[in-house]
């Protein structure tokens, strides 16, 4: 893939990220951090590629450590976020939301952010 395409993706992702994440309320900032930590575990893919195509022992050692780090991030991050959000959600749910089809605008109250969700489907 050429560099300009990749930078295009990066810039668009940054705008979508800013748009969506700036709407996360302060109450949920800790789960947001642990969830983005988990998403950061995507670096696991790099480790898998390194080990998967490696033909030197040092690369295998480096890659193995990277895989362990990445997996800890993913598994630990998503699980601990789930644990936290379970506590937030345990209170009486006010209005159960209709299970809207993915990638349509969310119906939950405070802000209508159709613009942001439009970005999702790109």
């Amino acid at each position: 893939m050429d560099l300009v395409t990749e930078i295009t993706i990066l810039v668009l992702a940054a705008f979508v990220g800013f748009e969506v994440i700036s709407k996360v309320p302060a109450t949920l900032h800790t789960p947001l951090m642990s969830q983005t930590n988990a998403i950061h575990g995507i670096v696991l893919l790099g480790g898998l590629i390194v080990v998967g195509y490696s033909n030197s022992t040092l690369d295998e050692i480096i890659g193995f450590i990277a895989i362990v780090f990445g997996t800890v991030n993913i598994v630990g991050g998503f699980m601990v976020t789930d644990r936290m959000l379970e506590m937030f959600g345990s209170k009486k749910k006010k209005k159960p939301k209709p299970e809207a089809a993915p990638f349509t605008a969310e119906t939950n109250g405070d802000d209508s952010d159709a613009a942001a969700s439009g970005g999702d489907s790109k």
Binding site: I49, V50, V72, I74
Partner: protein, 506 residues
């Protein structure tokens, strides 16, 4: 397992599956904007991650399954056990540690990517079959056609790969070591107080210069010969030193900013690695993390009325403690838990202001019980949460959610400040600087201009605290000497429990 490994790494199927996976990340975060949907969003993001991992494993030519599966199993076990065991009060450490792991993984991957080029170089320098293998490897690495003609004997890493690789390595290494220091401070393995060497800024500046010089050297001599690998490894170590040195002088109270900033850094490094490896899932995932970290960093810095460079490079230094001598032994009032209970029981409205002390004392459940007792007596109870209360963004909210406090009662600073003048009693539990009126009145104060929870506007103030000692920033708090204020000394959890039992018997 190997027969399934059939997807072309640069083909459309892999690309499309990556799109599905990062769309799920974005949608998952979007659901995270509301407490009732956030959990589902987290689950969807996890599904996206599973798709990304499965897609990668299904690529043609992936081997070394033993190592891969071993790594996945070890990582999953550690992650699962840690996520079950960690206490909510320890969440800042956990996030710092995970951040570090992410940064460390990136630095290692960047190193391996660089070594991969060296490997191609070695193959090409030899003759015959190996040379052909080298050409194949080079093509696999995305060098088809255009660069091949330059490939007579030496390989030059294309700058569009070299630059992101170096960036990923440097930033990844800085965040790995910086996060580990932050973890050690939060876990109290090393003192949380700011510490540093004289001339720290000069040293940091020099380290940064060395890194830049290294990048330039590798950029100019990018034939992978001679010293290049050594230079690369040295840069890895210099970045490690820089990460450590930058975080060491930062005090505990500034941790929310530091953790957010390191989060942004790891995201940036992942995006850079994504460019080096031509992997869209990595680019988008990393950029999302980077955005999140950046937003949080800016919000935290705004909440402290300080610029990010100021927090990183200045720290709360000696000046505030120097000014303290004048105000010694000022009169203050103190009362017992019993008196406090009576005062609370006769109030109409109570606002609880939690801080890091609440986390240290693990008092969140006791506080919820106190609020329940008060509600039963017809007292309106709310919680005023300062954005930088605690050691990470949203730290107090998580603790109180753990104690089943309804999130409607968790009020943000701007929202509740206007109600404080009509509030009968403010109860400050383990919070200090975020309530210090000097931020509004005393221009010489280091925290002047920082938005605070204006508890001094309330009719009465109870401050639950161990002693009169100033807070983390070492700044004396005028609030404690306000005639409206009564200090209740002791361990926060013990005092609150006493108040609860006292309320029960009233």
């Amino acid at each position: 397992m190997i027969p399934f490994a059939a997807l072309d790494p640069t083909g459309a199927v892999v690309g499309l599956l990556y799109i599905v996976s990062f769309s799920l990340f974005i949608y998952g975060i979007k659901l995270g904007t509301h407490p009732t949907t956030a959990r589902r969003g987290n689950g969807l993001a996890a599904v996206g991650m599973a798709i990304a991992v499965a897609t990668t494993l299904a690529q043609k030519g992936i081997g070394n399954w033993g190592i891969i599966i071993g790594g996945l199993v070890v990582g999953s076990l550690i992650g699962a056990v840690a996520s079950k065991r960690v206490k909510m009060t320890e969440m800042p450490q956990m996030v710092a540690l995970y951040n570090g792991l992410g940064g460390g993984a990136i630095a290692l991957i960047a190193w391996a990517e660089y070594r991969h080029w060296v490997h191609i170089e070695n193959l090409l320098s030899s003759s015959g079959d190996s040379f052909q293998n080298g050409i194949d490897e080079a093509e696999k690495a995305g060098l088809a056609g255009k660069v091949l003609e330059n490939f007579s004997i030496t390989v030059s890493v294309p700058l569009e790969v070299l630059i992101p690789t170096l960036l990923a390595m440097i930033v990844g290494s800085i965040s790995f070591w910086g996060s580990n220091v932050a973890f050690a401070k939060l876990q109290e393995l090393i003192p949380g107080k700011p510490m540093g060497l004289p001339g720290q800024k000069v040293i940091n500046g020099l380290l940064l210069l060395v890194l830049i010089a290294g990048c330039v050297y590798l950029g100019i001599n990018n034939d992978l010969g001679g010293l290049n690998q050594t230079v690369f490894i040295l840069m890895l170590l210099v970045a490690a030193a820089l990460g450590t040195m930058v975080v060491l002088p930062i005090g505990g109270a500034d941790m929310p900013v530091v953790i957010s900033l390191l989060n942004a850094f790891t995201g940036l490094s992942a995006a850079a690695a994504g460019i080096a490896l031509d992997n869209t899932a990595l680019i988008v995932g990393g950029t999302l993390v980077g955005s999140s970290g950046t937003i949080l960093t800016l919000e935290m810095a705004t909440a402290m009325n300080r610029s990010v460079p100021n927090i990183l490079f200045a720290g709360f230094g000696a000046p505030p403690s120097a000014g303290e001598g004048s105000g010694e032994k000022r009169p203050h009032r103190s009362m017992t838990a019993q008196d406090a209970a009576i005062q609370l029981a006769y109030a109409d409205s109570v606002v609880i202001v939690p801080g890091y002390g609440l986390a240290v004392a693990q008092a969140q459940h006791a506080v919820r019980e106190m609020a329940d007792e008060l509600s039963r007596k017809g007292v309106t109870v709310n919680y005023a949460i300062h954005p930088v209360a605690g050691r990470m963004p949203g730290h107090m909210n998580v603790l109180l959610a753990e104690a089943d406090v309804p999130y409607e009662q968790l009020r943000e600073m701007e929202d509740i400040n206007s109600e404080l003048p009509q509030t009968d009693v403010c109860v400050v539990i383990g919070a200090n600087d975020v309530t210090n009126p000097a931020a509004k009145t005393d221009e010489s104060s280091p925290i002047y201009g920082m938005p605070i929870i204006e508890v001094d506007e309330a009719q009465q103030v109870l401050v639950l605290k161990r002693s009169m000692s100033p807070g983390f920033a070492g700044i004396d708090n005028d609030l404690f000497y306000n005639p409206k204020t009564s200090m209740v000394f002791g361990d926060a959890k013990a005092i609150v429990s006493d108040i609860v039992s006292e309320l029960g018997s009233l």
